[in-house]
């Protein structure tokens, strides 16, 4: 591996990690099997074993393992930065994130005290058995039913809970972010940004975006437009499907990723996403999920009620996702017990909240992460899972794909950081693109009291899930995976404003603007993005 992109130290870390993983022992066993073959000649031992391994697909598996490592471990810098800098290099943002976390935790704790419910409690035997039986039907007999929840005094149980925060609360925090070293508006002649995000982060401009998304340009056929029902299939669809089958058969992550840049054909999307995210389930994964499920059965967390409430408020009322309600519980409840998720906090500016065993407040030896995976759900969290229910009918695959999507992309949408794909970066990207390319629209909206980000923010935080129709969300997330970037969300938000410009220019109030942008279910996202990026 003489690749100059990667330092020796990085490659060494990669090798060390591979050596401790399952693939190492598997490879050794496979090599033993090869050696034992009678056709192997002693003189060509190494070559023969290598050929044998390649023929039985082991080099592909090894490549996928390496690919997965590359995707999840950013390149090391020299000298290597302290861990807080990996999370977030800018001090003021780090402090802002910590303050925000304190607020959330305080809100959670006070809800706990007000309702007199423990953060966590062990379930009695009887209740555990009931939950085990009803595991696939949690939607019907949730905490509302007489289901062994001692605190339940009737059907109003869930209504006592409030979501810990909603996207608009988070937006208020972001608006308030100020770099203490930077004075913007007071100096005369200084360039003034019209938007409400006041943090000066570097964001891409349209030319860089055009380069990045060049595979989506108008002269390239895309899945989602050019394979529609009324277009003769020889033009695009047949070739695309043929190519897709070949890509899937090679089972190679980077190849799947490259293919998906033009979108995934519906029937291949599930497999392609698994390949891109390097999700390949084996017995250990299945056991692990069962273990998480047992954890859910044994202990009841306050967070569970928050998740329930969230599902009931969002997915159950959504005419596209209500069908999958039970699946959502089977994914979200184990997710909150999954300590694997804690790893992502190494590169997430957020930190898992800590709680203390009863009576031992402040003593570090008795601190635990709460919830075990460190992620406190907010209003709309369940919608990160919902669109994927259209792809995976086994909950276990759904679980692992969702988990991977969360620790690679979705976490960025609700933590304060300077990362260009963090929500702050995306908001700034949205505002700067809109100001540069639709300045009359931006100015008009601002003058009637409607800051565009205030409408678009909720779309960004949820990655458009629940706002677009389900097939469009999937087409959009294809591109998030393929280009390994959330920036397309900001591009789409700008495109939507452009598309509805005529009506928006006529509005005279914030509410009117919101009404124009309330229903996005008829939109086709790929043509919109193409128009926005490539036709100015």
């Amino acid at each position: 591996m003489g690749d100059s992109n990667y330092s020796k130290a990085y490659i060494q870390t990669l090798i060390d990690e591979l050596k401790t993983s399952k693939i190492y022992t598997d490879l050794q066993c496979a090599a033993q099997v090869e050696i034992a073959k009678p056709t192997l000649r002693l003189s060509e031992l190494k070559k023969g074993v290598l050929n044998g391994l390649v023929n039985s697909g082991w080099d592909r598996k090894l490549r996928n393992a390496i690919y997965r490592f590359l995707q999840t471990h950013p390149k090391l810098q020299f000298p290597s930065p302290p861990p807080e800098h990996l999370k977030e290099p800018l001090v003021f943002l780090r402090k802002a994130q910590q303050a925000w976390e304190k607020r959330i935790l305080k809100s959670l704790n006070s809800m706990c005290t007000d309702l007199n419910i423990p953060l966590a409690r062990k379930r009695p035997e009887k209740e555990q058995k009931e939950w085990a039986q009803k595991w696939t039907e949690l939607g019907i007999d949730g905490p509302d039913a007489d289901f062994g929840w001692e605190a339940c005094q009737g059907c109003a149980y869930l209504s006592q809970f409030r979501p810990v925060y909603a996207p608009k609360d988070f937006l208020e925090v972001i608006i308030g972010l100020q770099n203490p070293n930077y004075h913007g508006s007071d100096t005369p002649g200084f360039y003034h940004l019209w938007g409400i995000v006041q943090v000066p982060l570097k964001v891409k401009d349209i030319d860089e975006l055009r380069l990045q998304y060049s595979d989506m340009s108008i002269n390239q056929c895309q899945s989602g437009i050019d394979d529609a029902q009324d277009i003769p299939s020889e033009l695009f669809e047949q070739e695309r499907v043929k190519l897709g089958k070949k890509v899937i058969n090679t089972n190679h992550g980077p190849l799947a990723q490259e293919f998906s840049k033009k979108g995934c054909p519906t029937s291949m999307r599930a497999t392609l996403w698994c390949q891109i995210l390097a999700v390949e389930l084996d017995e250990i994964d299945i056991l692990y999920y069962e273990q998480l499920k047992t954890n859910v059965l044994q202990h009841d967390l306050l967070v569970d009620s928050l998740l329930y409430k969230d599902v009931k408020l969002t997915a159950t009322n959504d005419d596209q996702y209500f069908v999958f309600e039970d699946f959502l519980y089977q994914v979200l409840l184990p997710f909150s017990r999954d300590t694997y998720v804690l790893n992502h906090f190494d590169y997430n500016s957020a930190s898992p909240p800590k709680s203390y065993i009863r009576g031992r407040l402040g003593m570090d030896e008795f601190a635990v992460n709460y919830p075990p995976n460190g992620v406190i759900p907010f209003h709309g969290f369940a919608m990160y899972v919902a669109p994927m229910c259209f792809l995976y009918k086994e909950t276990i695959t759904l679980y692992y794909v969702f988990r991977e999507m969360y620790v690679r992309y979705f976490f960025r949408l609700h933590s304060i950081s300077s990362h260009p794909q963090g929500i702050v970066g995306l908001s700034l990207l949205f505002e700067s693109l809109l100001q540069t390319h639709e300045s009359d629209l931006f100015f008009h909206l601002k003058s009637v009291g409607c800051q565009p980000l205030k409408v678009a923010f909720k779309w960004l935080v949820r990655a458009f899930s629940g706002y677009l129709s389900s097939d469009q969300v999937l087409l959009l997330w294809d591109r998030v995976l393929a280009y390994n970037s959330l920036e397309i969300l900001a591009v789409l938000a700008v495109a939507i404003f452009s598309f509805r410009k005529t009506n928006l220019m006529k509005v005279q109030s914030y509410n009117a603007a919101e009404a124009v942008l309330a229903d996005l279910t008829t939109l086709q996202v790929i043509p919109l993005i193409q128009l926005s990026l490539f036709s100015k």
């Binding site: 696939t136 039907e137 019907i140 003769p232 299939s233 020889e234 499907v241 054909p265 519906t266 029937s267 999307r269 599930a270 159950t316 009322n317 959504d318 005419d319 596209q320 209500f322 069908v323 999958f324 309600e325 039970d326 699946f327 229910c389 259209f390 792809l391 995976y392 009918k393 389900s470 097939d471 999937l474």
Partner: protein
């Protein structure tokens, strides 16, 4: 725009809004209307031998006189069975059977018997497979009323007694039931059972002209499907009629337990693959066409008539569709706002197809609507155009294979949905 006169037996908003948008004038059913949205009782009056009246060339009415041939459960089954036998007799490849004697292409209704007439035949079949469940449906009712499940002969004591009594009282249409093999392996999504409601517009039976509405929907049960015998009495588990589901605790007013056909397609393509999904939808469309052809000979093909049927189809977990029944008066009540929009579009497109927009109806026209008037309908089968295409070939002889794969632009055939 021609100011037509309309009469309507139902004051549903989706109907009246459509009429008002067109500037039509409301009149009574006894006046000189151009367009009459009638209920099934009025149809009997209009076409009755004693008090009926002749319709003029500028009048269209929303039912065929003897639509019951298709819309009553027992008559539909009778007609389909006869249709299959006829095809079998003339050696049509469509009527091909497999080693067990089951039709390969025409097996689209679950095995059904008429009660009390076929009671003994039913008992024979039941004894062959005693562990199966059957569903009893009264012939003359709708909306899930009077339906129950049966898995023991004792539950049918009433009919066995009647058939053994010496003084035979011919059953009135109120007492007749059909009993069908219950599909106990329905396709489940999210663990829940559902059925499909598709709307089909027929403007003529001979030649057959039918159109399929693209915006059909799936109706979900609110309770998880449970095939255990304990749940046989729980109608919330088994019957998907909205009027029944509406009374359940978990009925949701926002989506009403309804899912669009597009979402169903997206889910099936994503989880099962495109080929099997395409095959499923093709098969459903063929079943609709066959069911219409089966009754086409018997329905009086009055050219003043058109009809919008509600087809109920259940898909089993082998992705095979089953035709459950056909409704002559599909509900026009809207349960949710998307429902209202969809039904409004339905009526709008029906009117545009039946009366070319802006014109006065003339029942002598060729009944070939222009493509731009179809709206959300697709041509399902137009026998007249198909005959023109096939140069004198008998359209019944065209098996399922002929219509596949003809999606190229070189043959813009409006005769079928392909």
């Amino acid at each position: 725009m021609a100011r037509l006169k309309y009469a309507s037996d139902m004051d549903k908003s989706v109907l009246l809004n459509n009429f008002e948008t067109r500037g039509w004038v409301p009149v009574g059913p006894d006046d000189d209307w151009n367009f009459y949205w009638a209920n099934v009782q009025s149809i009997r009056n209009v076409f009755s031998i004693d008090c009926g009246f002749r319709l003029t060339d500028d009048q269209v009415i929303s039912h065929f006189p003897n639509h019951v041939e298709l819309t009553r459960k027992d008559l539909m089954v009778k007609n389909i069975k006869r249709y299959r036998k006829d095809l079998d007799k003339e050696g049509n490849p469509l009527a091909e059977k497999d080693e067990n004697g089951r039709y390969i292409h025409l097996d689209f209704i679950p095995q059904t018997f008429m009660l009390p007439a076929d009671y003994n035949l039913f008992v024979e079949e039941f004894r062959k497979n005693p562990n199966t469940t059957w569903i009893m449906k009264p012939c003359g009712k709708a909306r899930g009323v009077g339906i129950f499940l049966v898995n023991k002969l004792s539950q049918l004591k009433k009919w066995s007694r009647d058939s053994k009594t010496s003084n035979f009282t011919p059953p009135t249409s109120k007492d007749t039931y059909v009993i069908s093999k219950y599909i106990d392996n329905p396709l489940l999504i999210g663990g829940k059972k559902f059925d499909l409601r598709l709307y089909v517009l027929v403007t003529s039976f001979r030649p057959l002209k039918c159109y399929l509405f693209r915006l059909g929907f799936a109706r979900f049960c609110t309770v998880k499907y449970n095939a255990s015998i304990n749940e046989l009495d729980n109608m919330f588990v088994h019957l998907t009629n909205v009027s029944i589901q509406k009374q359940g605790d978990d009925y949701n007013n926002v989506h009403g337990g309804k899912w669009t056909v597009q979402n169903l397609r997206l889910f099936l393509e994503g989880t099962r693959g495109k080929e099997v999904t395409d095959r499923l939808f093709d098969e459903m469309q063929w079943q609709i066409v066959h069911s219409l052809k089966a009754v086409a000979g018997g329905i009086s093909n009055d050219r003043h008539c058109f009809e919008c049927y509600g087809y109920d189809i259940i898909i089993d977990d082998n992705l095979k569709p089953w035709l459950i029944e056909v409704n002559a008066s599909p509900s026009l009540t809207s349960t949710t706002s998307s429902d209202r929009i969809m039904k409004y579009k339905l009526i709008n497109d029906v009117i545009n197809i039946v009366i070319p927009p802006g014109q006065v109806p003339d029942v002598r026209w060729n009944k070939i609507p222009a493509k731009e008037h179809l709206g959300n309908f697709d041509v399902l089968y137009d026998e007249e155009l198909a005959q023109q295409d096939v140069m004198g070939g008998d359209p019944r002889k065209l098996g399922p294979g002929t219509f596949r794969g003809k999606r190229d632009g070189s043959r813009p055939s409006p005769a079928t949905w392909k």
